[in-house]
């Protein structure tokens, strides 16, 4: 290593605390399923699921930036890894989920139903 290194132990344990806390919050909501979150939806996904997805994003950020030490890398490396991933994943999800929703509607409105 050419550059000087300072020990990051404190930062590591802080991030560990954050990740554990988020997991506990997720499990808590997953068991309780509060109705005002569970039964209201936004963009055909209920608010509880939105909460889980956002919390997952926060966890992913901390793992990549702190544990994988992305925050210490050069900007060019950082964005050549992160931007293609974010773009492609959102793109793929958008296409597949829209298509799946369409197929669901077709089955749902057709004369032949999913029946017994």
């Amino acid at each position: 290593m050419s550059h000087e290194h300072v020990s990051n132990t404190k930062r590591i344990w802080t991030v560990f605390g954050i990740l554990s806390l988020i997991t506990i919050v997720e499990v808590f909501f997953g068991i309780l399923k509060p109705e005002f979150l569970h039964l209201n939806s936004f963009l055909s996904l209920n608010l509880l699921n939105w909460l889980f997805i956002i919390l997952t994003g926060v966890k992913a950020y901390y793992i990549v930036y702190a544990f994988m030490h992305m925050e210490g890398e050069k900007t060019s490396l950082r964005y050549s890894v992160i931007l293609p991933l974010i773009f492609l994943v959102i793109y793929l999800l958008f296409i597949l989920l829209t298509e799946a929703d369409y197929i669901f509607e077709v089955f749902n409105n057709a004369t032949i139903k999913w029946n017994f």
């Binding site: 290593m1 068991i31 889980f52 997805i53 793992i63 793929l92 989920l97």
Partner: protein, 333 residues
């Protein structure tokens, strides 16, 4: 170490990056790009799961009702066990990053200790995963599959804290065994040698019907999710009618063809994605063990550089990262 060209004569000009234009060694940069491609693979799988789920959005199994087991504890307790697994993996990520950190300071013994803990954490995780698969494959309540491939489950209303709640009932608790209808499992030694069949379910559809008729409290629950986000429960007369008219096979547990929890796709994706992730954890453990012994024999000590630990660390954190998403997609959402 030999370096061919150190000075390119372009310092300060357009290129000027020398051997490490983005200040990461070749190995580390390639580990990052491997991780990018592997992350895209997992995204593809998880997006496919999302596709199937949105396609059957009104009939998908509810995870809280599928993964409810904890070793040595027999009441349903959703989430707890998988939260434990998540915690183990996060913890092993922490010991891994501590090992990397100790490596930067060239503290060999600390690296050895932390890598050992990381390997143990990985083994606990894979073991837990195996147990989870085992309970999922074995199943617990059993169900009837209809001609159309739908799953009908059983349960009854019981009083709990002054409220009527629907409680699942297992086939073994109500099916009445009629011994004259018993068919023994075909084995290749008893007939055509090249034909055999998997183990038969413990009960036949007729036995379940006898049991259903004898127990007037038991109702059928279908796959369809109602507006309250719960599975639809049929009336008593409708329950008996559906089982009699459409019941085709008894399903216990899960495999790639059928599963008692709902649509077979759910089990297929579960086996495929958690299996692929589990395989990553397994290979991570193997690579960790190799590097662990390299540290012990002093390879990196002589090199005065623990970057190899950092590279396996990247892989190990990536495995943890994937699990964070698998956890959300399979158990929370």
């Amino acid at each position: 170490m030999d370096k061919t060209v150190v000075s390119t004569g372009t310092e300060g000009k357009t290129w000027g990056g020398g051997n490490q234009p983005i200040k990461a060694s070749y190995g580390k940069m390639m580990m990052w790009f491997f991780i990018v491609s592997d992350a895209l693979t997992f995204s593809g799988f998880l997006a496919a799961y999302g596709f199937s789920r949105f396609k059957f959005i009104d009939a998908w199994p509810i995870a809280d009702e599928v993964f409810t087991h904890i070793p040595f504890y027999h009441e349903p307790a959703p989430m707890i066990y998988v939260a434990f697994m998540t915690f183990v993996l996060i913890m092993s990520s922490v010991t891994m990053v501590l090992a990397v950190d100790a490596g930067h300071e060239l503290k060999k013994n600390k690296v050895i200790g932390y890598m050992f803990l990381t390997i143990i954490g990985g083994l606990i995780f894979v073991g837990s995963q195996a147990w989870e698969w085992g309970t999922f494959i074995k199943g617990d309540y059993g169900a009837i599959q209809t001609k159309g491939g739908n799953i009908l489950q059983f349960g009854e209303y019981v009083e709990k804290d002054g409220e009527q709640v629907f409680k699942r009932v297992a086939l073994r608790d109500f099916a009445i065994i009629a011994d004259h209808t018993d068919r023994s499992q075909h084995e290749s030694k008893n007939g055509i040698w090249f034909m055999s069949e998997g183990s038969l379910p413990s009960y036949t559809v007729e036995e379940v019907i006898y049991g259903l008729e004898a127990n007037s409290d038991i109702l059928v629950r279908t796959q369809l999710i109602n507006e309250e986000g719960e599975k639809t429960i049929l009336s008593r007369s409708e329950s008996v009618k559906q089982i009699k008219d459409n019941g085709k096979a008894v399903i216990e547990g899960a495999n790639l063809h059928v599963n008692e929890y709902g649509t077979p796709l759910f089990a297929d994706f579960f086996f495929f994605i958690t299996g692929f992730h589990g395989f990553h954890v397994f290979s991570g453990i193997v690579i960790n063990i190799i590097i662990f012994f390299n540290v012990i024999i002093g390879t990196y000590e002589r090199r005065k550089n623990y970057e190899m630990v950092e590279k396996v660390g990247l892989y190990w954190h990536f495995v943890d990262l994937v699990w964070v998403f698998v956890f959300t997609v399979f158990y929370l959402v």
